[in-house]
């Protein structure tokens, strides 16, 4: 911690004007600005230099502080977003408190935007500098705030992304809570038959990882559960979770399935895209993790045949209630994936109207040997294997009236489906892919496209608009109508149509974003803090995103993001404490009337009215407050101040801006 050894009561300000190569000096006369600085009250020293931010420049600042016993420093240069932390640590090397630093932005705010009017630019630069000096005179030394860090971590969503995050963190030694909405972890990958471009069996490569998660001593899976509330902040989150009743005592259930065999009741299995059925007591698929059965009380007739079958294992409990639990963690990784848009609302494709129009995920279940047809690709209308199939790309995606974005993985999974069908049925099947652009831009993908083209699959490039499907009501065959790029109509009769329907954010994305205080991006997926250089960070410290929940990405990319988010979370968890800037709201409890105005304006749930010594007063949750200051502005009694953004300091700046003499 830097000690302030210099007397603060009489400000001695040093001003360092940056030339920034020619970025500033080509528009503003920096010599003149330096001379001007010296005329301002309490400025004890001023100079200009090429790059104050480089090592040389920083060294000069440190020396000047020491030589002239400066106790406030102003750099007139770029935006504080870029170099404020650099200069703060620079002045602390001269034993000056880092918050006795002020930055005057004369680059983004002056030289860059007013380069054609240098005279006015010079005046504006002087105004800005005068304001900075006015504030610097009143700066107070502050101390950073340190938060403790809980070493546990939560992963919300147990798809392939969340699985990788969990395993990585658990292997690093952190205790991981995986909260999964459905009965089993695995996500969409566990629903797939094979994966592009290598065509390896999806569950064969994901299954062992799922089992590892289930068995890892550092991982606890909280499945069939909903997140209800997230409180707290980085280092100390408190998550309230509802565990929904399975009506099965998990520790007694051996996963034998004898109850399922005894149960008389069947209902459509959403895991199988409602193409097949499951029993009222069952698991959605055989490789489920945890392998604990669930009774669906909506369908169960309470015959208790399962209870008899279960016998001495005694795993069935019809009185089980939902249970609310609280889990405390230091960091959270969100990996809740995506959902598929239901194309029934897009009349032109006839989904729901024509029997032989299916979605890509439905085809995936048809291809799968463990699927509802035992791996037979058949038509719904007659149960026969089709001799021709058309694939329609971008159904709902890349459509400004629907989902403007590209769903990312559809081109590749269509290639996968087409290659699998072609290699299986050879000349007994004709495949037509109606596409607009083929997006095959990762390792091995373009080569896979070539393999598809060489195998005799027909690729027809058509416009995204004016595509529709009609049905022959007797043969139940379908005709695809489309237009080539040069406007020529094309028509193709086929026996089955597969739609590459859009992938969309899960229905809970917005709700969860609200609980976590993280924004959504256009399209409704989670927004990352900086998509390029901080792709897994969110605006909330300690909350990270991974996988398809913040943009549609395929399995390899989701896996790497899962590991990336694990590393990011570990960077938080491994710290002994988490340091935040002391610029957060401060409440003067004597002035606070408990009117709650602040709580209604705070966008981060950071301020609440609590009983403090027999009095209702506002209290700030340190880790949540972002120091935006809105509560301070709204408070009618002036009870809330923001350190170094006090009324006195702000008014002094306003006065300076208006040219008033101090």
């Amino acid at each position: 911690m830097s000690k302030n050894k210099l007397p603060l009561d009489s400000p001695k300000i040093g001003v360092f004007v940056c030339q920034c190569g020619s970025n500033i000096s080509s528009v503003i006369d920096v010599e003149d600005l330096t001379r001007f600085s010296k005329t301002l009250p309490n400025v004890a020293f001023a100079e200009n230099m090429n790059y104050p931010c480089d090592r040389n420049g920083q060294q000069k600042i440190v020396e000047a502080i020491k030589r002239y016993r400066l106790n406030r420093v102003i750099v007139a240069g770029c935006s504080p977003r870029l170099y404020e932390p650099t200069f703060q640590s620079c002045i602390s090397k001269a034993d000056l408190n880092p918050w006795l630093f002020e930055m005057a932005n004369i680059r983004e705010a002056v030289s860059w935007c007013h380069k054609d009017t240098p005279l006015e630019a010079a005046d504006k630069a002087k105004d800005i500098l005068r304001m900075a000096v006015a504030k610097a005179r009143l700066l107070e030394p502050l101390e950073p705030i340190n938060l403790s860090i809980n070493k546990n971590v939560m992963v919300i969503g147990g798809g392939i992304a969340g699985i990788n995050t969990s395993l990585d963190l658990a292997n690093m030694g952190y205790k991981v809570f995986v909260v999964e909405k459905t009965e089993s972890i695995g996500g969409k990958m566990a629903q797939l038959d094979k994966t592009f471009p290598t065509l390896d069996c999806s569950i064969c490569i994901e299954g062992p990882k799922m089992v590892d998660v289930g068995r890892h001593k550092n991982i606890e899976i909280i499945s069939f559960a909903d997140i209800l509330k997230v409180d707290g902040n980085v280092g100390n989150f408190k998550v309230t979770i509802r565990r929904n009743p399975r009506y099965i005592i998990a520790k007694n259930c051996t996963g034998c399935g004898e109850c399922r065999d005894a149960c008389p009741i069947e209902y459509p299995n959403t895991w199988d895209m409602n193409m097949g059925v499951r029993k009222a007591i069952s698991v959605p698929f055989d490789q489920a993790v945890p392998l604990v059965y669930t009774i669906n009380k909506d369908h169960c007739i309470e015959c208790y045949k399962c209870v008899d079958a279960c016998g001495a294992r005694n795993a069935i409990d019809f009185d089980q209630k939902s249970e609310e639990i609280e889990v405390k963690v230091g960091a959270i990784v969100v990996s809740i994936g995506y959902e598929m848009h239901d194309p029934v609302d897009m009349d032109e494709y006839g989904y729901g109207k024509y029997d032989n129009v299916v979605t890509a995920m439905e085809l995936e279940r048809l291809l799968l040997a463990a699927g509802p047809t035992g791996g037979k690709t058949v038509r719904a209308s007659d149960g026969h294997k089709p001799h021709s199939i058309a694939f329609i790309q971008c159904v709902g995606s890349r459509d400004i009236n629907k989902y403007e974005y590209c769903s990312g993985f559809c081109c590749m999974y269509t290639l996968k489906h087409a290659v699998m069908l072609k290699e299986k049925y050879k000349d007994d099947i004709v495949l037509h892919v109606f596409y607009t652009d083929m997006r095959s831009n990762f390792k091995g993908y373009e080569e896979f496209f070539n393999r598809a083209q060489k195998s005799g699959i027909k690729f027809i490039r058509v416009k995204l608009e004016n595509r529709f499907i009609t049905e022959d009501s007797t043969t139940k065959n379908l005709t695809v109508h489309a237009e080539t790029e040069d406007g020529k109509p094309v028509q193709q009769e086929v026996e089955m149509v597969v739609l590459a329907n859009a992938a969309v954010p899960t229905s809970k994305t917005a709700e969860l974003a609200k609980m976590l205080n993280i924004p959504l991006s256009k399209g409704g997926f989670f927004a990352e803090c900086q998509p390029k250089i901080r792709p897994m960070d969110t605006d909330v410290p300690g909350v990270f995103v991974a996988g398809a929940c913040h943009g549609l990405i395929d399995i390899p990319y989701s896996v790497s993001q899962g590991s990336g988010a694990a590393a990011e979370a570990a960077a938080v968890l491994s710290k002994s404490s988490w340091t935040i800037e002391p610029i957060i709201a401060k409440v003067n409890e004597d002035l606070c009337s408990g009117c709650k105005v602040c709580t209604s304006v705070c966008g981060y749930n950071a301020i609440n009215i609590e009983k403090i010594d027999d009095k209702e007063a506002a209290r700030v949750t340190v880790g949540l407050c972002r120091g935006c200051g809105i509560c301070g502005a709204a408070c009618p009694t002036g009870a809330i101040t923001m350190p170094n953004y006090t009324d006195k300091q702000m008014i002094a700046q306003v006065r300076a801006a208006l040219g008033e003499k101090n």
Partner: protein, 304 residues
């Protein structure tokens, strides 16, 4: 193809279906067999069935109510089909008749007990066929073989040239005992599957109303001196009458027991709760408990 639910209705039948990619479930209510008793509504665990009252219109007779089934709620497990006294409901899976709950021993079937000693029938008699209100009996005659003639003689039965062959459609026989009552030779013995009591509260029953008589499927009610009376012998306690009775408590009906194949099933206990009076329920559950204790004691092999 998304999962589909359909409903089709005609005067003769109501059909609902659930079509999945690989499986098709169907349920049909034969409107000619349905008597509007709504036993099915009472037992359906999904609450998918509703009673539809049909207005009297210009005719003097009130038609029996009918049922509607919500195709989005039905799970096609055939509990209604098994309990319908008149066998009006059929469930199919992939177009084959199925009783999933019965097959898995999760639900019993009603015992439609009708014993006919047709060897003792009068030659050419078809009275039972004529009297059956549900058309559950069909009769034809076959020439006797010599061996059969000898056999009859040995049994001291009167000599005849033809034998009577009686087919009872056990799916739809409601065991009302009308055939038994009218049989001149007393060769038929029927045991009801529902037992109970029915009472007309003459003080509350308004004169001139004969709704219950109109709908009774088995002629268990009759008018005498402009008053409704019950013939307890024939009543099968289906409850169709109480659904059309306009005055509360004018007609009191309760079921005390149900004859069914042996079963151990929570669903059946619910059915008992819904169909029978508490005394009936306690009787059956009590008997089961005694049975349970008996088997337990047996299995413990205690010294006497």
């Amino acid at each position: 193809m998304p999962m589909k639910h359909f409903k089709e209705e005609s005067i003769d039948k109501l059909t609902i279906s659930q079509i999945l990619y690989t499986k098709q479930y169907g349920l049909t209510v034969d409107r000619n067999l349905c008597k509007g008793c709504v036993v099915c509504k009472l037992v359906c665990p999904r609450e998918a069935i509703t009673l539809v009252s049909i207005p009297k219109g210009s005719s003097d007779r009130i038609p029996p109510p009918s049922v509607d089934i919500d195709e989005n709620k039905c799970d096609f497990h055939a509990i209604c089909a098994v309990t319908c006294p008149f066998g009006a409901i059929q469930v199919t899976v992939n177009n084959e008749a199925k009783l999933p709950t019965v097959e898995k021993d999760a639900y019993p079937t009603l015992i439609r007990d009708i014993q006919i000693d047709s060897e003792r029938c009068q030659p050419d008699c078809k009275i039972c066929e004529d009297k059956c209100p549900l058309n559950a009996i069909s009769i034809h005659f076959e020439t006797l073989t010599n061996e059969e003639k000898v056999a009859r003689k040995e049994k001291n039965l009167p000599a005849t040239s033809k034998k009577t062959v009686i087919d009872v459609n056990k799916k739809i026989c409601a065991a009302c005992r009308l055939c038994e009552a009218f049989c001149p030779e007393k060769v038929i013995k029927v045991t009801k599957f529902f037992d109970g009591s029915i009472k007309i509260n003459q003080k509350l029953c308004p004169q001139g109303c004969h709704n219950c008589i109109d709908v009774c499927p088995v002629d268990a009610l009759y008018l005498d001196n402009n008053r409704v009376h019950v013939n307890d012998m024939f009543c099968i306690y289906c409850g169709a009458c109480s659904n059309v009775c306009p005055k509360p408590q004018a007609l009191e009906l309760s079921r005390t027991s149900i004859r069914h194949t042996p079963i151990k099933s929570g669903t059946w206990n619910k059915t008992l709760e819904k169909l029978t009076s508490t005394s009936g329920l306690n009787k059956e559950l009590g008997a089961k408990r005694v049975d349970k204790i008996k088997t337990l004691v047996k299995s413990l092999n205690l010294p006497r």
